[in-house]
Amino acid sequence: MLNHGKDSRKRYNATGKFSAKLTSWAEFRYSVRYVHSDTNVPSRFGDDWYNYIGAQTWPNLPIYDENGYYYSNEGGAPAMGLAQGGTRLTDRDETYQQAGLTIEPLKNWFIRGEFNYRIDQSKDRQTRLPIYDHYVDGSIKDMQYSSSLYQSFFQNKYANWNVYSDYTFSIKDAHNFKVMAGFQSEEKKQEYFNVSAYGLQDYELPELDLTTNLQGNGEDKAPSVHGRRNQWSILGFFGRINYDYKGKYLLEANLRYDGSSRFRSDRRWTWSPSASLGWNIAEESFWESIHPVVNLLKLRASFGHLSNQNTNDWYPTYRTMSTGTANGDWLQGNKRPNASWVNGLISTYLTWEKIKTWNIGLDWGLFNNRLTGSVDAFIRDTDDMLGPPVELPNTLGLTAPSENNCALRTTGWELQITWRDVTPFGLGYSISANISDARTKIKAYPGNITGDIANYNPGHYLGEIQGLTSIGIAKSQEEMDAHLAALDRRFEEVNGYAPATPLQGQSWYGTNWAAGDMMYKDVNGDGQITWGDWNWNNPGDMTVIGNTTPRYFFGIDLTANYKGFDFRAFFQGVGKRDFYSRSPLFWGAFEGGIWQSTGFKVHEDYFRAEDVVFNYTDHNGNPAQYVLHANLDSYYPRPLHNFKNQEWQTRYLQNAAYIRCKNMQLGYTLPQSITGRLGISQLRLYVSVDNLFTITKLSKVFDPENVGGGSSLGGRTGDGNTYPMARTWSCGLSISI
């Protein structure tokens, strides 16, 4: 699909490590890692590319014209843009440095200092070249497009200090203590600038010094320059006490005190205490008789307080101005003037979100640790969560800022089991499986004043999908009319009089109900299909039809090795998940009109009462026909450019549960007796494949693993229009000397 244009990436790594024992009580460590990468992609291969590929690559749109030139359909078709529309080169350098000093002034008393420093800088150089279609005679159809060069520089500096001290001691060989205290800081600084200049004199030599400042139509265009800096820091103090009595009873207590530059001084600091208890039952004397079978049994319980900034904004509590150059819309002396305005309201009272977690767990090891596993259950309360404020009168003039006013409760569990053994004839194998589940209930969300059912509502779960209940597609006008007449009879039963206009029971969602359209079920029995007031007090015929939250995440890992051969298969999946898409990638016919519509093979399964015949001329100039036969038992309704058949409903709710063979690998390690002579300590050959196969009931258009992603063309969640996971075959040789 991307076989136009160039797409390449080169990466170089270098790592150095140094450590020195300065004295018997001090050790110094230093390491450095350097990564350089060069990425070269077509400049039109941007974020929207996958979004539009469905809409812009219809089967009837050629890539090349009859003369063999790329055909761009005046910029609408993507292939030519990829091949000739310019390139984007990204040159990125990352340096990670780490220095550490450990001092042991007394036996078992350590003072540790660690400094991490990261510089990440990247330079972009992007050309955008005009692409033109050609006329039949081969001459260019000059649309006077502009060429431009964009260069940018981006630098991120990150410094992190960790300084802490710990002391381990025992009393009477029974009470074991470890105490620790320290502090930690993080600081990030960012600098960015870019320049765009227009009118390249020579497309082969894109340089800022070689631009004309002219657009394709000959008009002046001044270069544009932008730049900004940002900074952010956090600071934390922490302490921890570990105590155990003969390894049987374990206690850990933590206390943190954190401050962030994102919040104002009086709301900046937060305390986070946590504690956990453990009981090693298998170490008890009463367990001795069972110990040969159950050699490990440990009960754990913990309660913790965590804080979370939950913002990507650098300065969420500072109000700023929007200022621009030549951004005004009212021309003054033939030029755009500068315009500026004050940005939205902010709350100086913003602060950390508080997360409280209760956890209980059990670890076990049976049959000499051949069968190990653990089970955990937790409740997590998120309080002071950031959310929209209560609705304020329009007279405020602007949208009120978000506040720490929401609350959530997440409950979940996790199970992990491993069986590991070696058979008497030397086959080593292991089976490992884990499964986890969590769901989140909304406790408070004051921002949803009207009770909008698509918004968060207290008492409901995150990820709910609301919709109508579908009866099916009407195969004929008679079937549709019978359905509408039944609705009318129900209306009369409820109200005592017939509806003013007959057969309008579904008119809330559209008009002209005919063969090939959806018949919706009258859930609330009022003789009309509606969404009522769009809140849960009066949801009309809307109910919760599914939930997008992935449930029962599982992974299965199988390994085996025998005489130098090793095999591994890793499966992952989701046990339960619903997905609903309103994007044209799913529906084919887009509700917003013909131009975003998509024509994949699956979309041929649409309702048509009669054969559709396409007459065309084949390569030899003979008339030919392509027939799409009548399809009354179709999956999709008749293709219309409106919502009425595409309303959220049970029929098109997708089951996104899946199991995927994520990785399968076969390797062979040469015996030491052979490799040892060559001075090689290990030599392994392997074949590996990622994403080998997937079992799912989801529509073939989507990939179940990243179905929640993608941008939204009229949907509430991601529309799943991301690029699917690639199946990757690789083989290799790893040598350690």
């Binding site: 900004r228 600071l235 009272y349």
Partner: protein
């Protein structure tokens, strides 16, 4: 370097960092954006505020019907994409939040006033003015801002008759939302309107051939509606 020196250096680094940390380390203000308290301090900045506001009272060009897009959602025409919540059987429903109900432009102007007038001072002749730039120009711009606010309120008056008038904007939100300013009823409104409108006529300088065009603007400034 001897270990003792390294140790000493390390400890002094740590202590030095810790000492400065708590006070300054977490005080990070925006580096590349102007806070409103520092803006509104020169004639050209007030000009930029005006340039943001004028296009909102001038007829614009929509992307489908051009100038005539102003008729969208009226009895003349629907808009592309439809107005299906507005046209119902036997009934034309008006919006209950967008359009005429917006107070945002009035907010922007009030916010500008709250910053500019403190800098300009109480005295009408500009004796206490601290806004940089040519004084007659500053006065003229302030006059234009008055005109713009009066114009917005006049439009509201035409549409709704009685309408709350708000002259003081919210700035930042603290622990909880303070009570919103209540709108005054129309009777007070007229009084207030004529009071404020004396000010633009004093401030607007007919001698300045304003680059903001229009004779109409000046006319409105000098002869408030």
């Amino acid at each position: 370097m001897k270990p003792n020196k390294i140790l000493g250096f390390g400890i002094s680094c740590v202590l030095g960092l810790a000492a400065t940390s708590c006070s300054d380390f977490l005080e990070k203000t925006p580096m590349s954006q102007i806070p409103p308290e520092q803006y509104y301090s020169s004639a050209s900045q007030i000009d930029a505020i005006l340039m943001d506001n004028y296009p909102n009272i001038l007829p614009g060009h929509g992307s489908w019907y051009g100038y005539f897009e102003g008729d969208d959602g009226t009895d003349n025409q629907v808009r592309t994409g439809g107005c299906w919540s507005q046209y119902t059987t036997d009934l034309w429903r008006s919006n209950n939040e967008a359009g005429e109900w917006y107070f945002s432009r009035i907010y922007y102007l009030n916010f500008a006033f709250s910053n500019i007038l403190t800098r300009y001072g109480e005295k009408l002749d500009g004796q206490d003015n601290t806004i940089s730039g040519d004084l007659p120009l500053v006065q003229h711009y302030i006059g234009e801002l008055y005109f713009l606010r009066a114009y917005h309120y006049f439009t509201k008056l035409k549409t709704f008759c009685d309408f709350p008038i708000i002259l003081n904007p919210f700035t930042t939100i603290g622990r909880s939302f303070p009570t919103l300013p209540q709108g005054s009823p129309a009777t007070k409104w007229h009084a207030r309107f004529s009071m404020t409108s004396t000010r633009p006529s004093t401030l607007c300088n007919s001698q300045i051939s304003t680059q903001h065009a229009s004779t109409e603007t000046r006319h409105c400034c000098l002869n408030p509606v």
